[in-house]
């Protein structure tokens, strides 16, 4: 009788769920992304960052992760390229970011929005020139950002290729996560700050070693507790983010039950409701309310499939 490792099934159950979550989320994003087309009659500097620009950036971010990983199956890859192309076209191949930068030279939003497009292979020469110039000013070296957004800016500079230097360990130490705080003090907003600290330090799972060892240890200890709390609460948006945090570690835990739960609450059309209690039927608010959780599910699932194939990445 051949030797069969009985644990193989349970080891891969999470990956089956991750694949399933990703496939369906990409399908939904493919079908719904045009909802985020920019209003045609609003000048670039007047566009609202949260309502107009953030969703487009997030479409591009999710697309760029899938393009980078390149392992998520035919449909996901097609959808990922579609999302990046759509968002890039909405920004007039980056010219719109130049317009915003001209209006607000110290605003780091154009840089942070540009980074995922660069990851997916897009460039805008005029924006490159603007950003290179601005990065050389003392004025842009001291932005009044919250600590985790500093890390977002720094990772964006790195991706764009700007020759800047920062004391990343010191800046990491100023984030909530960097202080390795009492885990029982976490709340919703600090946990979102925590997830983003992880994403920017680990470049959304591309380089887990960007996370200091002490933070990896801390997260292996407490991520299971936070995940359990927000699974019980049905906060699927944060659950997806926490699962993606796990995938940014050198040694992820791959919590199978959480992945299975996420796959179970995802709607048949691929939308992941942001929260269990939020109305997921009103067509007027449906896409706006639930696009973010679905995007995160697509990214986390994609990264999960990729880590399954490439578990040793550092």
């Amino acid at each position: 009788m051949g030797r069969v490792r009985m644990s193989t099934d349970t080891e891969t159950e999470w990956a089956v769920s991750a694949q399933r979550v990703a496939d369906r989320a990409w399908r939904w994003l493919d079908a719904n992304h045009t909802e985020f087309a920019l209003p045609p009659d609003v000048a670039a500097p007047e566009l609202d960052v949260v309502r107009h620009l953030k969703p487009l950036t997030e479409l591009a971010l999710a697309g760029s992760i899938a393009v980078r990983e390149g392992t998520t199956g035919r449909h996901a890859t097609t959808a990922a390229h579609t999302l990046v192309e759509f968002a890039w076209a909405q920004l007039h191949d980056g010219n719109l970011l130049c317009d915003i930068q001209r209006e607000r030279p110290l605003d780091t939003t154009p840089l942070e929005m540009y980074a995922p497009f660069v990851r997916a292979g897009r460039r805008n020469a005029e924006l490159d020139a603007q950003l290179n110039h601005l990065a050389g000013l003392r004025a842009t070296r001291v932005p009044e950002h919250v600590p985790n957004r500093m890390l977002a800016m720094i990772n964006s500079e790195r991706l764009v290729g700007l020759a800047t230097t920062w004391d990343v360990p010191a800046l990491t130490g100023r984030t909530w996560l960097g202080a390795t705080p009492e885990p029982w003090t976490a709340d919703l907003s600090t946990l979102y700050a925590m997830t983003h600290t992880v994403y920017h330090l680990a470049d959304w799972g591309a380089r887990p070693s960007g996370l200091p060892t002490r933070i990896q240890d801390y997260l292996r200890a407490w991520l299971p507790a936070w995940l359990e709390v927000y699974l019980e609460a049905g906060h699927w948006d944060l659950v997806s983010e926490l699962l993606m945090v796990d995938l940014c570690l050198v040694e992820p835990a791959y919590p199978a039950q959480a992945w299975e739960r996420l796959a179970a609450v995802q709607l048949p059309d691929g939308m992941l409701p942001a929260e269990a209690w939020r109305d997921a039927r009103n067509p007027a608010t449906l896409v706006r309310n639930h696009y973010h959780s679905t995007l995160v599910a697509a990214m986390a699932g994609t990264l999960g499939v990729a880590r399954r194939l490439d578990p040793q990445r550092s």
Binding site: T180, W184, Q216, D217, P224
Partner: protein
């Protein structure tokens, strides 16, 4: 006994809160004349006896930590409480239906009461009703061998918080020391769910059964979850629930015991 004359549940719960407050006062040094016998109201002795049974081993804490002197009258109160609310045959613990066999929480609490009475000088064969269980094997079944997930395990620890008293050691303590990271995760989960009573009960285990938070799961960089900041947090921000403050006081008693130089790894005389 005439069942109709028994006070309703709410009266028992209120009596348990009153007793909890008195134990806290004794533990905090605000009452150096604590006596169980004084807890029995002249007009409603049954409620006082019920409170002694509800608090179980915790009602003996002032004697165990040495702030009050245990007397024959106090032993009689415990015996009367067991007589009024006798030990039932072990019922299956429904908290972890997937695990078999599951420990009997009432039986383990009564075991703890019996151990503490023994320490206080009560003849173990005295008819106080505590600790009269079939066998040690049956008593500890499900506490040592099985390896439930941390949520189920900490659920059991919450139910068995009264075992986390100075002077007690058991297979549950052994497991709790080994799984202190799980206990700490349970504290975290309980605080975030606003289940403060459970948080305090798990903090008692952190205090009574400290163990390494580092190990295979985490590297050495993780700082252990310190019980005192959690306890202070619950004390100041957790409201006035007397049962919560009893758990906090008992957690501190366990911490003080753990700091005593004479306290070794435990005598392991279950």
């Amino acid at each position: 006994m005439n069942r109709v004359s028994q006070p309703p549940r709410a009266v028992y719960a209120a009596a348990a809160e009153v007793l909890a407050e008195r134990v806290v006062r004794a533990l905090n040094g605000a009452d150096d004349a604590f006596r169980l016998v004084d807890q029995l109201g002249a007009d409603d002795e049954m409620a006082g006896l019920a409170a002694v049974r509800v608090l179980g081993p915790d009602a003996l804490a002032p004697y165990i930590v040495g702030v009050s002197r245990f007397t024959v009258e106090d032993a009689d109160v415990v015996a009367a409480a067991f007589a009024a609310f006798p030990v039932h045959e072990s019922e299956p613990n429904t908290a972890s239906p997937a695990e078999a066999p599951a420990p009997s929480v009432p039986a383990l609490r009564d075991w703890a009461t019996g151990r503490l009475l023994h320490r206080l000088g009560v003849d173990p064969d005295a008819d106080h009703g505590a600790g009269r269980h079939t066998s040690q094997e049956a008593l500890w079944a499900g506490c040592a061998g099985a390896e439930p997930g941390w949520v189920a395990w900490t659920g059991l620890l919450i139910q068995l918080a009264a075992l986390a008293l100075p002077g007690l050691d058991s297979p549950v303590h052994v497991q709790a020391r080994r799984r202190s990271l799980d206990t700490a995760r349970g504290v975290t989960r309980a605080v975030l769910r606003r289940d403060l009573l459970s948080a305090a009960r798990l903090a008692r285990w952190l205090a009574a059964a400290p163990g390494p938070v580092t190990g295979a799961v985490c590297g050495p960089a993780v700082t252990a979850l310190e019980p005192e900041p959690v306890l202070r947090h619950l004390e100041l921000l957790g409201g006035a629930d007397p049962r919560l403050h009893l758990e906090i006081a008992l957690a501190r008693a366990a911490m003080a015991e753990a700091l005593r130089p004479s306290n070794g790894t435990g005598a392991h005389e279950y």
